[in-house]
Structure formats: structure tokens, C-alpha cells
């Protein structure tokens, strides 16, 4: 759906070039919610703004639905942009226009008639749950409601892709959840492909299928969310995940302090819900001492880890570990 090849962007500062994006490549599948996470200043906004050329890429190609959008002229680009909706951190609603007028604007600009506009706006108001706010001005809406208006407005012309630049960053956690649910519904029901920029790992965990980790203008890791939580590769990813964990006990488990063998078990998907450890204790002649653990609910599945001390004969311990591996549990001897 979206294919980004060797994309670079430099901001000219006098004679100097500041590279905000450095040779980035990735692809986004149709119907996918693709996250891009990174700390502030990593280049996320610049990257997503290159996708609809609000920012002109310096080098590289961006192919959307088979069309290289970096090669389009102004008129072609404007036409293409109607296929790509965008929502923003600060909503960017027109302050002098009502909810209705805000949602109607893209339709008006696209040249639709009054009647068509009316029925489409009503449909969209219904979809985002704002029918009773039809005549309210943005200043009379809460943050979550404003973002719903912005989402309805972005959907007005039936885009195929939705770009979201920190759409939930200005919202409280509860409102964030409800907006994420709406976005997920849009993907499932309307089949949109969504690219989400965020600095919040919670957002990635709750809604994304795959994620790119960005640091200093580069993508340091691209992973499925499941795999990211199970086995983060990059330091940045690990830092993000550990920031999510309510308990940071893992850091304080020092294997040398225990007599038995200390292992870290990672679960994901269905096996996070099965009583695998309990089976292991019954099956083998060992004792299990739980030292630390955490299970997170991901979008469609669960992932978690458990740090345990296995006490018993070496042979039994090895057999138990083999059993865990046979159950698709990741075992790491610490």
C-alpha cells in the first residue's frame, strides 16, 4: 500500500543541512495500523508529513498504491491528497466554523452539492458519535470531541489512508482509549490503512499491528507489536517497553543471589493464557520460585514475561526447560 524507499529529508539552515530523516525505508500493508514511535525530535512528524508531501522529501521515493507520489506535479498531488486523510495533535479545526461546517468543508472543496454534503456529514456525525454536537463550535467541545470532528472531517472524502500525527498526545488516557477504539473501528469497518505517529508506547500496544522505532532520523527497528514486546531488538524499543511496565522488578533480579537456575520466560499469544508453568511443576520434579513477572494486553493478544528460579537436579531442570520450549515459550537462562 505504502512503500517508502531510501527517504531522506534535510532542512536547509543557511549553507548547512540538518538531516531530519536519514535513508529510511519501510512498507505499510493494506488495512494495517502501522505505528512509528520515537522520542520528541526523532523525525516522526517530518516523516509522516513527507507521506503526503506537506514536507518535500530531499531524496528517496514514496510509492502509494503503485504511484510514486514524489514524482507528481502540484495538480496531481492535490488529487492524490484526497485519498490520504490526516489528523493532528492539536486537531486543527476551523475555530469559526461549527462541527457541521468543519466536516462539510472538504466536501465543499471537492465540489459536492448541498444535498450530498448534508447527507454525508450526517452520516459521518453519526459514525463518530457527535450528532448532538452538530452546531457546536470547537471552543465548546472537549479534546476528545474535537478529535472526533477532525477524524470525521478526514474521512469525508473516503480516503484510503489515514495519517495520524500524535492524534492522542493532547488527550487524557481515557479519551485516548476511546479515540484509539474509533480508529480501530475505522480500520476494521472501512478498511483504511492507518499510519500512526506517537511517542506513547501505550498507543502502539493498544492498536498497532506493526511498528517502526525511530531515533535521530533513522528507523532502528521494524517489528510486529507482538514480537516487539516479546523480544525487542533495539535499545530504544527496550526503553519504551520498560517504561510501560508498572513493576521494574526485573532490573533487580540478580541471578547470582539464587542457588537454583534463574530463567526468563516470555509468553505471547495464547500461551500467555495457558497454565504452562503449573503443568511443568506437576510433570517434573522441580520447585519453581517466581521472582518477577508481567503480562500486558496487546491489541489482539497478550504478551508477558516471568522470571523464575528453578530448583532441582540439573537433568530435571533441563527437561523442564525443554518442555517449556516445546510449548513455544521463550526461555532465556540468566
Amino acid at each position: 500500500m505504502i512503500e517508502v524507499q531510501n527517504l531522506s529529508k534535510c532542512f536547509q539552515n543557511g549553507n548547512e543541512c540538518i538531516w531530519a530523516i536519514k535513508n529510511v525505508s519501510f512498507h505499510v500493508n493494506r488495512g494495517e495500523i502501522f505505528g512509528i514511535i520515537g522520542l520528541s525530535g526523532a523525525g516522526k512528524s517530518t516523516l509522516i508529513r513527507c507521506l503526503n508531501r506537506l514536507e518535500e522529501p530531499t531524496q528517496g521515493k514514496i510509492i502509494i498504491d503503485g504511484v510514486d507520489i514524489t514524482a507528481l506535479d502540484k495538480r496531481e498531488l492535490r488529487a492524490k491528497r484526497k485519498d490520504i486523510g490526516m489528523i493532528f495533535q492539536h486537531f486543527n479545526l476551523l475555530s469559526q466554523k461549527t462541527t457541521y461546517e468543519n466536516i462539510a468543508l472538504p466536501l465543499e472543496l471537492a465540489g459536492l452539492g448541498k444535498k450530498e454534503i448534508n447527507s454525508r456529514v450526517n452520516e459521518l456525525l453519526e459514525y463518530v458519535g457527535l450528532r448532538d454536537k452538530r452546531n457546536a463550535y470547537p471552543s465548546q467541545l472537549s479534546g476528545g470531541q474535537k478529535q472526533r470532528v477532525a477524524i470525521a472531517r478526514a474521512l469525508a472524502n473516503n480516503p484510503k489512508i489515514l495519517l495520524s500525527d500524535e492524534a492522542t498526545s493532547a488527550l487524557d488516557p481515557k479519551t485516548t482509549k476511546s479515540i484509539l477504539e474509533l480508529l480501530n473501528r475505522i480500520r476494521n469497518e472501512l478498511g483504511l490503512t492507518i499510519v500512526m505517529i506517537t511517542h506513547q508506547i501505550e498507543v502502539v500496544k493498544d492498536i498497532c499491528d506493526r511498528v517502526a522505532i525511530m531515533e535521530n532520523g533513522e528507523i532502528v527497528e521494524i517489528n510486529t507489536v507482538e514480537e516487539l514486546f516479546r523480544r525487542p531488538k533495539s535499545k530504544t524499543a527496550k526503553a519504551f517497553i520498560s517504561s510501560l511496565k508498572s513493576d521494574v522488578q526485573e532490573e533487580f533480579v540478580i541471578p547470582e543471589e539464587f542457588n537454583g537456575r534463574v530463567v526468563r520466560l516470555s509468553f505471547w499469544g495464547d500461551n500467555a493464557k495457558k497454565p504452562i508453568v503449573s503443568h511443568m511443576i506437576k510433570k517434573f520434579n522441580i520447585d519453581v520460585n517466581i521472582l518477577s513477572g508481567n503480562i500486558s494486553q496487546l491489541m489482539s493478544t497478550s504478551a508477558g514475561y516471568l522470571i523464575v528460579e528453578l530448583v532441582g537436579e540439573d537433568g530435571e531442570i533441563q527437561a523442564a526447560i525443554d518442555y517449556l520450549k516445546s510449548q513455544d515459550v521463550d526461555v532465556e537462562v540468566m
Partner: protein, 213 residues
């Protein structure tokens, strides 16, 4: 007294009204052009911006009375004479136009960059962004700008009176300065003050009434 004040007031209103209309016709497009052609604008044209910016600065640095005299030939060309209320509308409009351009520029620049970006993100053309986003969003501030322009033109028109423009300024000078009828001068000045206050009050009211922010 009233027979003196009323016709002069009407002349002032006439001059101010038409010079407001014409200075807006001249200055509004210039203000819009300044905003869209500047660096980072939606229709970036650095050279055009610099030329426009320069012209406006030069025009604004002329003292109004000198500009008026310099524009006598233009008044003669358009109206056929250089003296009188109708003739005065020409220099008033030209003098106020660069001021209007700056006022409009300032108002439009206050519009949140985010909504312009939204316009670009849905593939809006430059005229669409100007007329459907920029101007509606700036409306309360534009009304304040027009109010300021009218207030300024009331002042200018009074000055124009000194060189044969008619209106309340003319009346005040003719009776106050040349005939020592201080009462006529005082009443003229009071009427001008009331006019200015009234316009400012109405402008403020209208701007805050339509502002939904």
C-alpha cells in the same frame, strides 16, 4: 450651528465611506499577497514579496499631506479636479491602501498554521485556502482591522480638510482658525470624536459577536 455641522458631517461620512471601500479594494489583495508570498507562505514568491513589501514601506513613510499634494494629478485624472470631497477620496484611498495592506497582513498572519496545513492535506488549492480557510478564520480580526482603517480615515479626512477637502476638518479650520469662531471648531471636533468612538464601539461589538473562538 446645525446648518454648518450637518452638511460637513455628511461630507466626512461620504469621503470616509468611499475611501474605506477603495482603500480596501486596493489594500486587501495586497495584504493577502503579502501573506501568501512570504517565506513559508502557501504561494511562496520571495521576489514578489520583497517588491510589494518595499512599495508599501515607501508609501507608508510619506506624510499624508505631502502624498495628497503629490496625488493631485491623479485626482485630476480620475475626478477631473483636485479640490472638493470627491477629489479627496482619491488621495485618501491611495494613502490608506498600504496601511490596509499591513492591517490585513497582520490579521491573516494570526491564523493558526495548523488549519492551513489541514487545507493542504485535503488537497485544497491556493484560492480555496484563501477564501475558505484563511479569510473566514481571520474574520473577527479583519473586522477590527477595517475598524482601525475607518478610524484612521476619519483622521486623514479631517487633515485633508485643511487643503480644501471639505468635511468636518475643513469646517473646524475655516471657522476656528480663520474666523475665530471657537464654538464651531469645538463642536466639529466633538462630532469627530463621537464619530471615531462610535465606529470603534460598533467594530468591537461586531468582532466579538461573530468570534466563536
Amino acid at each position: 450651528m446645525l446648518e454648518l455641522i450637518i452638511p460637513s458631517l455628511l461630507q466626512t461620512v461620504y469621503m470616509v465611506f468611499f475611501s474605506t471601500v477603495f482603500s480596501l479594494l486596493l489594500g486587501f489583495p495586497m495584504g493577502v499577497l503579502l501573506v501568501i508570498t512570504e517565506k513559508g507562505g502557501i504561494w511562496e514568491k520571495p521576489t514578489l514579496y520583497r517588491i510589494l513589501d518595499g512599495i508599501i514601506n515607501v508609501l507608508r513613510s510619506f506624510p499624508f499631506l505631502i502624498l495628497m499634494v503629490l496625488l493631485f494629478p491623479l485626482s485630476r485624472l480620475i475626478v477631473g479636479k483636485t479640490i472638493g470631497t470627491t477629489a479627496t477620496i482619491v488621495p485618501l484611498s491611495v494613502a490608506a491602501a498600504p496601511f490596509v495592506a499591513r492591517v490585513i497582513e497582520t490579521s491573516l498572519k494570526e491564523v493558526d498554521k495548523g488549519v492551513i496545513e489541514f487545507g493542504q492535506s485535503i488537497g485544497a488549492t491556493v484560492p480555496q485556502i484563501i477564501f475558505k480557510i484563511l479569510i473566514p478564520e481571520a474574520m473577527p480580526s479583519l473586522i477590527m482591522g477595517v475598524t482601525l482603517t475607518i478610524v484612521n480615515l476619519i483622521g486623514y479626512s479631517a487633515m485633508a480638510g485643511a487643503i480644501g477637502g471639505g468635511g468636518l476638518g475643513d469646517l473646524a479650520i475655516r471657522y476656528g482658525l480663520y474666523r475665530f469662531q471657537t464654538d464651531v471648531m469645538v463642536v466639529s471636533v466633538v462630532v469627530i470624536v463621537i464619530l471615531v468612538q462610535g465606529v470603534q464601539f460598533l467594530g468591537n461589538k461586531l468582532a466579538s459577536r461573530i468570534n466563536k473562538k
